[in-house]
Symmetry: C2
DNA sequence: GCATATTTGTCCGTATGTATA
DNA sequence: CTATACATACGGACAAATATG
């Protein structure tokens, strides 16, 4: 649950409606199940079964399906039902293609939106430090969370609602690709790069930071791809 | 009602034997109504009325609402209904913020994805020429369409599904901002800039093209904003 | 401020069409 | 090809929230 700290930031934008519908609550449950690996990619979600188990009507459940479908976590095949998304290698490349466009652009233009009064890099710094601390104590799950938050907060510096939403969606999809891989392998190597990136940004060297980030993302993509092709997956009990 | 019950079913089935769900077809109808200005921003869409008129159940209609809500064309307010989205000036800035990030990035990296065998610039060229021809004969609607297609096809050069989808969504939202403005004012000035951009790209001067595009988008945003604040709107009969 | 009417949110039962064994 | 399972779509119902007088 500490996972959706950034989500509350998004919710604050639509603060006038903080009451959630049952469909959204159902979507929350399913989202967790999917991102935590309880429902592995490819799983078919039966309307009848889920509606019975979750004690909601099929109409409400379908609305939750729509929500998650838009987030990319579920795919809807006509007359066949909804399934947990199975990312292809092409999807992975595509996701990183968009991340590169957005994140590098944000970093490159950091100077243009300077000075909102409060320290804009505060959260970013907190994420880096949280990642370093988690690495220290071997809490790989926390390392992963900190890494995700770092990139989300990085994009947030641009102050664009749509960039924030797109990034959130991309990172959510990316989680699907993590399934079955060891968290240490997935997020471990990036703690030091996040630090380097933060330092460059703090120093105002935005162009250097953008170049660093670009190579960062390229390496990350290669890393993810090779992890997926590695047969030696870890079966981690949850 | 039982009189034409069978007729309705027949018409629905026979009119368009389709692969899409009725919800998607309803969404198509509403999408057109919205983008063509028949349903101006702020309009509330009554479930009962629309369900009756479109001869679909409320549940199906709500399904269509969700689809369009995710596209940004409708907004859903809890217990109050759905409304045609009213873009704020901030939304306009935000949309152009994302467009700049995506489109400029695509142009800058055109060299990296070179050579798919077929001429990748064919459609782009066709769009420019269509715009020039439409301008010649004063067909402002066609000018607008060609302009939209130009930018969509520009992004398509990157070969990224997610960039394509995001762009399509942004351009759809942008149409909402056009409502009430004269098409000549909206799209007229950009025919020559599209041509210039195409020529730079054709010449392989991607960096110069990216710079040109960036200024292009800045000007376009200013233009759109001032048009919105201009009280002198055109009432164009459809 | 209150009472009423309207509309949305949710759920159910059922009928029909589609995909798959 | 038949049979089965399931998604799709409908219409009715009631509760909850909102809008109206």
């Amino acid at each position: 649950m500490s996972d959706d700290g950034w989500l509350q930031g998004l919710a604050a934008g639509a603060a006038e409606l903080d009451r959630s519908s049952t469909a959204e609550r159902v979507a929350d449950v399913l989202r967790r199940r999917v991102t935590e690996g309880d429902l592995p990619p490819g799983t078919r979600l039966s309307e009848d079964q889920l509606a019975t188990v979750l004690r909601v009507s099929r109409n409400t459940l379908r609305e939750a399906f729509r929500l998650l479908g838009h987030e990319g976590l579920l795919v809807h095949r006509l007359h066949r039902g909804v399934f947990v998304t199975e990312l292809t290698d092409e999807d992975l490349v595509d996701i990183y293609r968009v991340r590169r466009a957005i994140e590098c652009d944000v970093v490159r233009r950091l100077g243009e939106v300077a000075g909102t009064g409060t320290d804009p890099l505060r959260e970013l710094r907190a994420d880096v430090e949280a990642g370093e601390a988690a690495l220290e104590r071997g809490d790989w799950s926390a390392v992963g969370t900190a890494n995700m938050h770092f990139h989300q907060h990085l994009v947030a510096l641009a102050g664009s609602r749509r960039l924030d939403e797109t990034t959130a969606r991309l990172l959510a999809e990316l989680r699907l690709a993590f399934q079955g891989a060891a968290p240490a392998q997935v997020h471990g190597p990036y703690v030091t790069r996040n630090r380097a990136l933060l330092d460059l940004i703090t120093a105002g060297r935005t162009e250097a930071a953008a170049v660093e980030l670009e190579e960062y993302l390229d390496v990350s993509l290669d890393h993810m791809t090779s992890l997926r092709h590695d047969e030696h997956r870890w079966d981690e009990a949850r």
